[in-house]
């Protein structure tokens, strides 16, 4: 069924991204305006704005299933695109959309549920013969089970939350003595973050690379992979920079891992866009980790090297169309790097630096693509993420891409909040990054500083401080006073003043 009007249940850059493709497909877009950022950029770009600013928002609107369905119905939308985060991987939401005859742009609720539960996903992967890290079968109920499983698997192990990721509910345990304590901490954290204390245990793979494969499937059973993304540049489980392809894979490995990814997707009858995550160790062994049943933040790098618009494909698949290509038609050309420019203070350990963006100038060179949801005057609020823009640079090969990255990073101009630009400027000059051998341990363990110290930049700052000091204190004319004016006053007043003493 052709989609004519689409509700975007999200905000920020992904909302802007979806609007952009929808516009090209001549689909009307509906967005939700909320009180946290009433003047956000995405609001002014959509065709129809549903004003939710009066809502007291005890549950943020983008997490409020009932409300979103109400809005979709009221605005007569055919479909809903959940973006990433929020309700994108909420099977219940997907189900509710379908029940209300709204097309959910994503996979089936069943696929979301199965892949959303890490224990079930692992079970499926095992059945499919997909390589994975040895782990506990099913969830761990208590400390004793945990200890037994860990013994069997062999230390070091990692405790993971069954219902979520992003580092929460996750603990690495290297010594048996710590297991009990870590198990309790991980369960509590998982409960707090995902309302489900269930955890499972896996062998911990030291210093792996994080390699993920982009999956695209249609409802007719055609599933392809669009190559891998290299996502090992992470800090506290948050990705900072992603590349496509990865310098760690050759064609054979790519084909092998890709086919495993497709196999995994097929096991749940997957359609729409999704990502299968693997860990790659130093011996080129790969292990299935999990599958994300949504479009991801870093999807642009795959788009740049395959020439495929993933949002467009998602919408087509959701409308019932078949994919216009098969695996053999997928070609990878060039190299793409994405830098996530966030409003964070690298000198304070990437602490968020919310505020108002006073000036924003992004490069417009042909090799740069900027995906952003803010403009000059936008506020970065602490209730949402701190993303300012994604800088996506494409080159002919990795060396060329890195070279262009350096150029592009120096052309980004943001004033009003501190950004992670100094980090990227340092990263693209770092030898470990340049030779491509970095692992997920790189940022946290091998870097002692997150920015470069440029002596002459510091000197310029010192000059400015000195200039200000001189202007305020030492210039002859820093105090320009008219004494005579103070002595001139109306005779009436002068007379009164003198006579009163």
């Amino acid at each position: 069924m052709k989609i004519k009007r689409l509700l975007i249940a999200n905000r920020g850059e992904i909302a802007v991204r979806i609007i952009s493709t929808a516009r090209e497909m001549k689909i009307e877009t509906v967005v939700v305006r909320n009180a946290n950022e009433p003047d956000a950029m995405y609001v002014s770009l959509a065709d129809i704005v549903f004003d939710n600013t009066e809502d007291p928002e005890e549950i943020p609107v983008f997490l409020n299933i009932g409300r979103l369905i109400e809005i979709a119905i009221e605005t007569k939308c055919d479909a809903v695109h959940p973006g990433y985060g929020f309700l994108a991987e909420n099977a219940y939401f997907a189900q509710k959309c379908i029940e209300n005859k709204i097309i959910f742009i994503g996979p089936s609720p069943d696929a979301i549920y199965k892949m959303g539960n890490k224990t079930i996903a692992r079970e499926l992967a095992m059945k499919q013969g997909i390589p994975m890290a040895t782990g506990s079968r099913g969830n761990i109920g208590n400390e004793e089970e945990a200890a037994a499983a860990a013994e069997l698997i062999g230390y070091p192990v990692i405790i993971k939350a069954a219902s979520g990721g992003g580092g929460r509910g996750m603990r690495i345990v290297r010594k048996p003595e710590e297991l009990e304590k870590m198990f309790l901490i991980a369960s509590k954290e998982a409960e707090k973050a995902f309302n489900d204390p269930s955890v499972f245990i896996e062998k911990y793979i030291e210093n792996p690379k994080h390699i993920e494969f982009q999956i695209l499937g249609d409802t007719k059973g055609n599933i392809v992979h669009l190559g891998e993304r290299e996502c090992s540049i992470q800090r506290k489980h948050q990705k900072l920079l992603e590349e496509a392809p990865s310098s760690a894979l050759d064609d054979n490995l790519r084909e092998l891992m890709g086919s495993m990814a497709v196999r995994m997707a097929r096991a749940v009858g997957y359609y729409s866009a999704g990502t299968v995550e693997f860990l790659l160790d130093s011996d080129r062994n790969f292990y299935f980790m999990e599958m994300n049943t949504r479009i991801q933040v870093e999807h642009p790098v795959t788009e740049m090297i395959t020439g495929i618009d993933l949002i467009e494909q998602q919408i087509r698949v959701a409308s019932g169309e078949a994919l216009a290509f098969r695996q053999k038609d997928v070609r990878i050309k060039g190299w793409s790097i994405e830098c996530r420019i966030n409003a964070e203070d690298v000198q304070a350990g990437f602490a968020p630096d919310p505020g108002k963006i006073e000036k924003l100038v992004l490069p417009s060179d042909p090799y740069v693509r900027t995906d952003t949801g803010v403009r000059a005057g936008s506020a970065i609020v602490s209730s949402y993420d701190s993303m300012i823009a994604k800088l996506i640079i494409t080159g002919t090969d990795r060396k060329d891409a890195i070279r262009k990255c350096k150029l592009a990073l120096d052309k980004v101009w943001i004033k009003g909040v501190k950004t992670t630009l100094p980090f990227f400027r340092m990263l693209v000059r770092n030898p470990v990054f340049i030779d491509g051998t970095f692992t997920t341990a790189f940022i946290e363990k091998q870097l002692d500083k997150y920015y470069l110290n440029s002596e002459y930049e510091e000197m310029l700052a010192a000059w400015l401080a000195t200039r200000l000091f001189v202007d305020e204190n030492l210039r002859r004319d820093s105090i320009s006073i008219d004494y005579e004016n103070g002595k001139e006053m109306s005779p009436w007043l002068l007379n009164k003043r003198i006579n009163q003493f």
Binding site: E457, M459, W463
Partner: protein, 176 residues
């Protein structure tokens, strides 16, 4: 006896990491890099805001705060803190440093029982006298606790969202 005014001939910009930059007075709008001098201009416009122009390249710059002779400058996304010293005040700093054998530490205690709403500093951060450290809600009022000294935060014991009693130790600052 009407003496020569002690003409200040040089100024030193001391960074928070004790690097020293020397500038002769009168202050010229140039900088020495290696053997050459380059012109530096401070400009401001609608599109870019305030910036410094050097060798045809623009650098975003912002004066984050200034107090007496202490300036925090945000230059190309990195914050630098400088104190501007005259030759005499530099000498004075050396003298004063030699006095205090032990590094003075200032302990910030809760002035009344209440709830910590927001902790505004983190360990290692430089603070100036009068700057806010944390917000304490007490008696239904929001109370900003300010730093009484110039220094660096050595320990932050206060946690946002927790309740504290009078005199609970909240923050430790190393003076200077």
């Amino acid at each position: 006896m009407n003496d020569e005014k002690p003409e200040i001939k040089k100024l030193y910009a001391l960074s928070s990491e004790n690097r020293r930059f020397t500038f002769s007075l009168p202050l010229k709008n140039t900088i020495r890099i290696g053997k050459r001098s380059y012109a530096v201009t401070l400009k401001s416009d609608e599109k870019f805001g305030t910036y410094i122009l050097l060798k045809n390249r623009k650098y975003p710059v912002e004066v984050v705060r200034s107090r007496q002779n202490r300036y925090e400058i945000l230059f190309n996304d990195i914050s630098y803190t400088f104190t501007i010293e005259t030759p005499f005040s530099l000498k004075r700093l050396k003298v004063l440093r030699s006095y205090s054998g032990k590094a003075e530490s200032e302990v910030i205690k809760a002035p009344m029982p209440g709830k910590i709403i927001d902790v505004l500093v983190r360990e290692g951060a430089a603070v100036l006298r009068g700057e806010p450290l944390l917000i304490l809600e007490a008696m239904k009022m929001q109370n900003e606790i300010q730093s009484p000294v110039n220094g660096h935060i050595t320990r932050v014991m206060a946690k946002s969202g927790t309740n504290v009693m009078k005199d609970d130790v909240l923050i430790e600052i190393k003076v200077g």
